[in-house]
Amino acid sequence: MKAAIIITGIFFLSLPIASLGQQTQIRFVTWRPDPAWVWDQAIADFEARNPGLKVVREVGPHSSTEFHDLVTQKLRNRDPEMDVFFADVIWPAEFAAAGWALPLDRFFPAGEQEEFLKAPILADTYQGRIYGVPVFVDAGLLYYRKDLLEKHGFSPPRTWPGLVRQAKTILARERDPQLIGFSGQFKQYEGLICNMMEYILSNGSSLWNEKDLKGTLHLAKAKEAVRFVRDHIIGEVSHRGVLAYQEPESLALFTQGKAIFHRNWPYAWETANDARRSKVAGKVGMVSLPAFPGGKSVATLGGWQLGISRFSRKPEQAWQFVRFMTSEEIQKRIALFTGRAPARKKLYRDSEILKKHPQFQTQLETFVQAVPRPRTPVYVPLSNIMQRYFSSAIAVADSDIDQLARLASRDMDRVLDLLRGRTPP
């Protein structure tokens, strides 16, 4: 009897060990993209084609800033559990410098990198080595109400002052108290950098000088752009609510038919033209963002990559998963069913994709020219200084932009100084 109990005990205790022997678990830290079934299906297919590998998903918050905190916490603690992680386009430099991300060059040689759009590959490269494989790309675009612009005899604006003029005219003629001219993302968070960068760079200035490692926000052209946003975008054609908006709120305003112009990423096209979710389906146009007179249109590069943790105990299997999820087949599926723009160049010539998403053809130019936020391991502290500055400058009607900009540049200089002297290994 006793023996029987012991044998049963040993049998049950050994079960988990036995099953571990057969299956390797890959832990994938991600957020839940919309619609989730596309991803569920992709992972199920991966498991079906790779018997012995099992993907365990850990789903984190959707906000890039909060997701960053989750992933970096695991990396900082050298958590061997996490194998593969989703990464925003601004993280690879930081993760690479900190020694958290695994260089993928031996899996992902230059020849294969060429099949992807150049901008995200550059963003994933740090000091000559690659740390991520792009899944989809994002770039800022201008959405507009085709019906309203046509009604009032306008074609999409090429300059920011032109946008303000059109919006003011339409608002004055429509006399709809619910309607506003422009909705964007102006909350104090990372999206604010993406938005403000498009104004500042399209006025021929920059966030900071990457060569001299000096802040440039106090320069006249940069201040001029910020002042324009405060006085004309927020002050004249938007309403104060946008100062608390991230992407979903600002898009909701547009799809409810309450905004003439809207700045967002490519996925907004799907939502805005889906009659179940949008009141303006079919009345939406999309073009490159305006520039300042004499400047060139600038779209901030966004997008997400898959990276492998340096502390993973099974990088080979993790790579199998990354390769599958970034393969042509899966990227095509993601593009078809989520409206996310693929990172693989070839898919922009895919007839099936172009039939369902003709907009990709026009967007391609924007993706090719999209400007990444500067790559640096101290991106997060710099971003926090800039978020504070931009929000303080545009949220208060009589803010002292000269003074605020000087302080922001000075603070950025101090952070950038950390990069001086000894060059990183």
Partner: protein, 295 residues
Amino acid sequence: MKGHRSAFPFLFPSLLFVLVFSLYPIFESFRLSFYRLILTLPWLGQKFVGLENYGDLLTDPVALNSLMTTMIFVAVTAVSEVMLGLGMALILNESFRGRGLLRAIVLIPWAIPTVVSSQMWRFIFNDRYGLFNFLLFGEKTSLYLAPLADPQLALMAIMTADIWKTSSFAALIILAGLQIIPDELYEAASIDGATAWQKFRHITLPLVKPALLLALLFRTIDAFRVFDLVFVMTQGGPADTTNVLQFYGYKKSFAEGMIGYGSAISVGVFLFSLMLSLVYIRLIGARILERRETA
């Protein structure tokens, strides 16, 4: 003496717990606050810089601003919560039908996790479909305010959420204080012909004071560590007007990886809370002694 020694094995588990989970992290924060340690720049190493982080902290306008924001938050919320809590406790101390139910209902806001109630308040303060605007302006949508987008209103909005949430906690502590006041005192006062106000002023208030101070102590320390409301509702904005100290420290340590400087902020918060607690404990201690002497 022998008795003391035999108590040690019994104390050991809790002592170990305090050492590992309270003292060690505090000590470690102190230690790290004397170093320059930036996780994303590992080649800079962990360099001892003495009091440099503290020097930076004292001259960092963002930190000083954030200290100011935190102080306003603490002063307004702690005082309002204790006053509201006193009102609630006085009502809940009366006997009436359904008192048990009401006591349970009053605790609901406190029982809801802060993250959930913060999200709820974010919706209430929404500039387009929020309840706040609807109650204030009804159909006149052109007047609608955007409290979370307005540098002058955002902190107030967050304080409102905090007061709503934790007044009942203060009420609970004060209610316990009210219940130990013997009924005979009120009976005697009635016989002497005291009015309700006189009874409150001369019996209730002096006797409930220790509980009031205790509630104030708990609320002050807790309010000093406010984090989740800001994290969910504003992320420190707009124009940095809701960037409270704990949130700033969190950003430095966890998002920016500036462990040394972040630790210095944590130590600052710790020292401030400690100082405030000492003041309160002194006050409360004095009160209790006073009562013992008169009793």
